[in-house]
Symmetry: C4
């Protein structure tokens, strides 16, 4: 137990709280008071970009939570670096409702505003996935692992997170060319991670 | 312990967080800045549909939480299918403040906007109850049950959830004919579930 | 373990979540976008009623949480009645940001709108305290008590809650005559409960 | 176990909930609907003060949580004074989105409104840090310490909190002269605390 250690359990609980609140607050960026007196069905259709951005951000934070959880079951104790990297992950997740709202506002109009909003959205995802990958690598390197963790599983999780970060860098480049194509990329990526990621708990859990 | 397993305890905590936040965020769709300078009592009466939708959604998420909790006490461990079905349940619950707000906005005006808003509201409830029923069935079929669970109780819970899903499909059809009658149906259903549902924990709990 | 039982631990966690969210959401009713371009210090002074209502509701939910917590340490298991009474407590707490906002909007203007907003505020507090008292009585009567609970302490807690309910009924009557005097009553009551209430845990706790 | 004791575990959970919600709600003060139809990149740049205030408040609550957590690992049981001081800490944290929003609104315009908003912001931070220091001192003095706590570590934590309170008093004075300089002070302080504070758990934890 070294410098700046904090017990993992309460770090997990605080992180779960922030991620659960961020995923639920996303609903507030849907068009609550912007539908007006016209035809509701048409008005909802005009806001398709808001619903798409909402769905993708919800899935993204959900998948992030699954990975975050898988990492922390492997962690025996926390040091300052882990706490700081975790703070970056939480910052990005808590900030995400804002770029999600910008994408919902500006994507369908196209032009440079669509590009700026999508760059901010992609940048946030790149940063959060990169921080999660760095967190995973730090746990592996610094012997913060619980004694009963399968190191092969932890390395596989790390490779997945590096792969996801690389994908989001590519998405950021695609956003420069076509913001609308980027949103389709996020949809494909979300389905890919949902059906292929290994969410298995790395460490022992209280239940099984 | 098979493919994609995540420990149940933290899944429960994250789910509790999302459901608690969704049920509390509902208050934000009440008419905060829409009352104006006129007579407050009359203005509140004009917004009756918002208060009705708020109350019904609050009760609905509360009952959903009770069933969700009853299912998870029976779960020994989680696989990918359980995690994905649970994500659908949480998505619908977190999304619910939006259709609740649309019903509050458009129900009292009637016409096609009232119908569209009530269809979206009923569709969300049908999906969330159907996903909860599928989750319960998957737990029963896949031997994810804890060793100490009463299978008869789990089957009874499953039948209740299938019955609720069927009721919400009927409510969606009623919404096509009369959105205002549908809201009365939801009120009757909420009282029925509150006083007849078996919320008994299926598995062992830490307290009793 | 009888009809409709749910384990207390997760009921407590869900209740804690709703109360923590409701107490934090109160901040959203402060005058965020209503200050405008004039002098900030004067504008904040004009909104004194919002700040007063915010502070009183924050203290009120905090004290409610302390009592809620004290009751649940005494509870060995939950039945349907306890779950339903708890749902009423959570409903009132989650609803409270709305009447708090109305009091903040209409109290300083006086007239019938100030009276209606204060009646709704006082009615909510009367209902929540009454439901908490009924919950405490039900626990005492129904032998839901943990085996290691001091019954004298539980009865003292019950008498406190009945006294608070009676006080709030009186405050509701005062609100008919003078809404501004009522807000002073709430301030005195909050200080009284903070410094005299017995928040001692009735049952055993995991820590001590 | 003396007057007004409440078990620490659930106090921690409620505090974690309030801090997690407050840190995540901060995002709602970002310029969601204030960007309009002009150039998005320029509009975001014009709102630099909102983003700066958001980032500083996020870091500040994150660091507060780390200290709060470190204190509570040392606490064996809670008395009334601890509960009341903790309520002041939670009140300030839950209130913080409001002064953060005022700083974001008025800092870049300068003048007396910038000064008033920064005084309210600095006053909130001074009060929350002072209450945390008083809480730490009370735990040390009142023998509320767990039996296995290192008293030297607890005294070091207390000195850090007193130092932070003194720094915030100075920042409040600087705000009288130059609100814009104050925001830079908060940035330096956040980095200083992140990289030098001793977040080590004082007491035993469930994990290590």
């Amino acid at each position: 137990v070294t410098d700046g250690e904090a017990p993992v359990t309460r770090v997990e609980m605080f992180s779960d709280g922030v991620l659960a609140i961020a995923i639920t607050l996303l609903v507030l960026e849907l068009p609550f008071d912007k539908v007006g007196d016209g035809d509701l069905a048409h008005a909802l259709g005009d806001h398709w970009a808001r619903f798409a951005a909402y769905g993708l951000s919800f899935l993204g934070i959900g998948i992030l939570w699954l990975h975050h959880h898988a990492i922390f079951t492997a962690v025996g104790h926390a040091d300052r670096t882990l706490v700081l990297l975790n703070l970056i992950v939480l910052f990005c997740a808590a900030f995400l409702p804002y770029p999600t709202s910008l994408v919902g506002d500006y994507l369908s109009a196209g032009g440079s505003n669509a590009r700026v909003s999508m760059l901010l959205y992609s940048g946030t995802w790149t940063l959060v996935t990169g921080a999660a990958a760095a967190m995973c690598r730090h746990v592996l390197r610094s012997r913060l692992l619980s004694s009963d963790v399968d190191p092969a599983g932890a390395r596989r999780l790390y490779r997945n997170l590096v792969g996801a970060t690389a994908a989001y860098v590519v998405f950021t480049l695609i956003a420069l060319a076509s913001p609308a194509a980027t949103i389709a990329c996020y949809g494909v990526a979300a389905l890919f991670f949902l059906f292929t990621s290994d969410f298995r708990a790395l460490g022992k859990t209280t239940v099984d």
